[in-house]
Amino acid sequence: MPSPGALPAGKPQDAPRGTMAPALGYGLAVLGVALASIVFSMARHALHAAHASLLFLLVVAVVAYVAGSGPAAVSALLSFLSWNYFIIEPVHTFAVHEPRDLIALFVFLVVAVLIGELAARVREQAAGTRVREQAAAAHVRERATNMLYEISKLISADTDAIRVLPKVLDQLVRASHAGGGAVLLVGPRGDLQPAVTTRVDVLDAAGEDWRARAQQVSRTGQPIGLNPLLVRAPVYLPLSGAARVEGVLVIVPGMPRRGLPRQSRRVLLTAASHLGVALERQRLAAAAAQAEALRAAEQFRNTFLSSVSHDLRTPLASIKAAVTSLLHSEHSPEAQRELIQAINEESDRLNAFVGDLLDLSRLDAGAWRPERDWFDVTDLLGTVLGRLDDAAAARVRLHLAPGLPMVPVDCIQMGQALWNLIENALKYSPADSPVSVDVTAGGKAVLRISVSDWGPGIPPGEEERIFEKFYRATGDRRRKGVPGTGLGLAIVRGIIDAHGGRVRAYTRAEGGATFEILLPISPPDMPAPSALADEPAPDGEEYADAR
């Protein structure tokens, strides 16, 4: 049989039911008339001529319904002839003696043709109706497929399937002409909780404890209510992933008498399956992320603990050794002084480490939150250099371009960053080599501060890694002996990033490392400094007083 849905309107012969080849139709016409004639002639004495007309009319009607108007006309004609020949006096001739018989014959013919036509027309209409019904059904299916596509797109578009649930449920309820619906999700403890509902009143009025039924479905994994016999009841569909049931979809039909349209059921089933997979995927991704976070935290904790214990205990060990030696042994004044110096230095180192630890907690939280105000870079550098002892301070060469703009920074944090860089440069280079600090303006938008040393430079390839927490440069024997927490550069980067700037490191061609900070000068939320400094700040004339 040719596919029925493809044709918008078909010829009666190609219509779905009673498709009959034309030859067959005409054959049937002949056969029908012949049969009727035989039946009548066999029972002639029992039957009247009127009975014959009814019999032939029956044949015509059947042929018309089954085979169409062509064969019906033929059977009408044949009946007319047969009735004339076999039944009307004189028998076995086409002559008609009685005028009333002639009239009857003609009336018969007209009626037969009419019946044939009517029956055929009814048949066509039925066929046409069927075709229209199929077209409508095809249209409904197409709409359902479109809806399904939309819903699938909705689910796929967001990796957070839970976030799109309200929209998805809304679409499903509309697609299935439902009265209300709900999606319940299986929680981490295995309990089923409503995540989103539409028209809870409709759900509650459905006449059963839908929450309990949903629980049941989540346990069995089998849908309830898809059986077309129970059309009034809500439909429960499990949302299943590959491994387990992730939730339950509940839909209450909007038209209780008719239940859900069949296409809607298809949409619901497909959507439920898609949703189940999406939910499972999301759950697994979250679990994986959490496991990874735990692993990273564990690793950090281990690194941190080993670093802390080393860095706290090392200076303490020196202090303890020096102090106990002073307590228990006799030393010359010079030796005493040396030991006491050592204790002083190690105390400073301990203090610096504690400061680093405190900064570390801010590093992790990204919690720098600079409180910005306009500062002179010269001033900031001056404060940093003031903290150095004379020998170290003497090694630092400042090269400040003239007319440097003010920078919007948090003075304490920026001071810390500059201190870390300068201290590093001093530490990692020979004690007689200079450390150079250059400050220039890069156009109107950026201030460039670079700290350069004549040490061994940065190991190739490590220019980014050195900014990681707890990094200590590998490979260099001398570097291994240099104490440090490995946090200094990480703190510098954290601070500079929080100020919207960038810091990078590189080894110079002639040797030695340079750390370069680029700081933006004009963040959008601060008034420019010139607006304040150029105001007529009352500063009076020069003092030309009486001497």
């Binding site: 306009w374 500062f375 010269t378 003031g386 700040a537 001497r547």
Partner: protein, 229 residues
């Protein structure tokens, strides 16, 4: 100066011990208090030249001690604090403290601040017209400022800033106080003005403005004129 009496307030016995031995080694007489109430009692009943006050006390905290002390006394107070946060320092200074030190501190630094603050408390303006430290000399009667013998011409506000810092040499002065004293109460928030003028002042009196020897920045708090002893 020998014979001066210092009240040390700290709840940590090791700190009290260390301070007592450090200060008495320099000739000061030392009174000890372990909490705020004891401190206020001692300050009220015995003549004291300076108070070294820890902010982190049990019971009434250091801020409150300072505030109450200031209700009836102008004894110089130096506060000690574990936290380096400038907000806390500024708050203490606003409450009436005269200076601060962050723990751990060096004894040398504490002694310098004690000297500076006792001197300030004792200073009678007219009797010391000429201030001098290192190569810097300020003749306040003649409004004359010289550095290494060379006269420096200052604009009026620059001079006023320098003068106020010199009157309080060795002590930290908060931005707010400096602005109020030099420009007036309406200018207490204008730290920008201050920075600009300090910058200009430094460029005139500092041999190396980028490495100040005289006008020292206390980040986030204020400025201090360093005394070279």
């Amino acid at each position: 100066m020998p014979g001066e009496r210092i009240l040390v307030v700290d709840d940590e016995p090791q700190i009290r011990r260390a301070l007592r031995s450090g200060l008495s080694a320099q000739g000061y007489e030392v009174l000890l208090a372990a909490d705020g109430e004891e401190a206020l009692d001692l300050a009220a009943t015995k003549p004291v030249d300076l108070v070294v006050l820890d902010l982190g006390l049990p019971g009434i905290d250091g801020f409150e001690v300072c505030r109450q002390l200031r209700e009836w006394s102008s004894i110089p107070v130096i506060v000690l604090s574990v936290r380096a946060g400038e907000k806390e320092k500024v708050a203490a200074l606003d409450q009436g403290a005269d200076d601060y030190l962050t723990k751990p501190f060096s004894m040398e630094e504490l002694l310098a601040r004690i000297r500076a603050n006792i001197r300030r408390a004792r200073a009678v303006p007219q009797s010391e017209p000429v201030f001098s430290t290192g190569d810097l000399t300020i003749d306040m009667a003649r409004h004359l400022v010289t550095v290494a013998g060379q006269e420096v011409r200052l604009r009026r506000m620059e001079y006023e800033i320098l003068r106020y810092l010199a009157l309080n040499a060795g002590r930290v002065i908060t931005h707010r106080v400096l602005l109020r004293e030099v420009w007036g109460p309406d200018y207490e928030e204008e730290t920008q003005y201050l920075r600009v003028h300090i910058g200009r002042l430094r460029s005139k009196i500092e041999p190396e403005p980028a490495r100040p020897r005289y006008i020292i920045t206390e980040p986030g708090v204020g400025y201090r004129l360093r005394v070279h002893e």
